[in-house]
Point group: C2
Chain length 273, copies 2
């Protein structure tokens, strides 16, 4: 999916919601466990219940990898079930030297046909650029993450800036707003406005809303740009909103709350521009 | 495998060679392509030909992931075929927030039963410590890598030290020489002695010998400690040493050259200690 299509989708749906399918078999409603593939049965119901309210699905690969080969089958079934026209993110945080990075890019873009994959920056340019060479595919590079460990290195000073700022500036030299996004954690509100000034045109994938405590209002007012420029991810707050027979209805209601709030913030861009 | 067993294996075999199974189906001898699982057929022959000369096998997961679900089957077959008593490394470079990192640790330590997994440090403490909580399992954290991109961030100054030094010092607070190793690229000879002074007791996994140009002699003289403290990885230089019917013989000869050279360097520790 290209940038124009993504921006069009956001306007049409009045939403910049990404639903995170971090599905843990130990947390899904018990009545699904009799299915041949309980995690897929859960994901299918969540997708059916939210597909008109969100613009993206993010699949956290760790939750599938830990189930071994069957987990990858579930992942493939899930990504194939997502309606075309919705942006797909493999949240895999890959990063390795050039020839290996190319294998990872092929994995997620060709083998599984994701629109995008999250990448880790520690190994530098040749670990990221192979992901930028695919037509209408995206790398989403870690910038400043939502977890406590972001203080250990990302928020250390390198010369006159933070390491994460150096990372984002480097990324902006390697890629463009058409093939590169940045991960910016929802809990990092103290830095959000500065990050938007640093990268005015790039999309940010913002995880950490809901269970991790980030505020949608704050994120939106600090970091939205004229094209919206945000994909805000909620995982646990949506997919585990309920735990009974009606879990998909509960998930839809949770997603709809986000979408309605987003619709308000989006209307403010239109007024201002 | 615990540290004592690993050190014992190195002494017994007179080797600190790790054979990297970065197997690319496009690079293996053509006569193997008629096998049901050509990559496994290749790996099996390489393992049979080298298992008495090395102390570890490193499986670069990217080369398997890119083949989709069949690739994970090949990976699992390969790790199960490696004789017990040889150290196994999942070169997966995973890193994510705490609850996700735990899923990755389960994946490689429980689901696939690897002894160790490589981890990326950018997300900080809570992305690494879940890998340190497993009995007789190891995290191998990226320190200073062998690729050109290591200059982009790892070799930037943070206060009065390089970022990679800060990463290694942080790792030494989180883990111990019994559950944590560091990746130090073979091409980084200018830094190797300083890294050994910084972390005198930890094992280093050293990739980049052979195809990437690192010198075994230099690495060994700069970074060996009294327990050896090194696992030196060669991938392409061994597994693609030949490309005909006799490829496994060529791989054995290449591995034997490394082992014989290593045996010399190991004898110098004994003399000195």
């Amino acid at each position: 999916m290209n940038r124009q299509e993504l921006v069009g989708l956001i306007k049409e749906r009045q939403s910049y919601l990404c639903v995170g399918l971090d599905t843990d078999i130990h947390k899904i409603p018990k009545h699904l466990l009799s299915h041949a593939d309980p995690v897929f049965a859960f994901n299918k119901a969540i997708i059916d219940a939210t597909k008109d309210l969100c613009v993206a699905y993010k699949i956290n690969t760790a939750f599938y990898e830990c189930m071994g080969i069957r987990g990858w089958e579930t992942l493939q079934r899930t990504v194939e079930y997502i309606p075309s026209g919705i942006f797909t993110i493999a949240d895999a945080k890959r990063g390795d030297i050039g020839n290996t990075a190319t294998q990872y890019a092929k994995t997620f873009f060709d083998t599984y046909n994701f629109d995008s994959v999250t990448v880790a920056p520690y190994m530098g340019k040749d670990s990221v650029t192979p992901f930028l060479a695919f037509h209408e595919k995206w790398a989403i590079m870690l910038g400043l993450t939502s977890n406590e460990g972001s203080q250990d290195f990302q928020l250390q000073r390198v010369g006159d800036e933070y390491l994460y700022e150096k990372v984002i500036r480097a990324g902006m030299e390697w890629g463009t707003p058409d093939n590169l996004m940045f991960v910016v954690g929802a809990t990092q509100t103290a830095q959000l406005a500065a990050i938007r000034r640093l990268a005015p045109d790039h999309f940010f994938l913002v995880p950490g809303v809901g269970a991790q405590g980030g505020s949608l209002q704050e994120i939106s007012s600090l970091a939205m740009n004229k094209d919206c420029g945000l994909l805000v991810n909620a995982s646990r707050a949506i997919i585990y909103a309920g735990n009974g027979e009606d879990f998909a209805v509960d998930a839809r209601n949770a997603a709809m709350q986000y979408q309605q709030e987003m619709s308000e913030y989006l209307s403010q861009i239109t007024v201002n521009s």
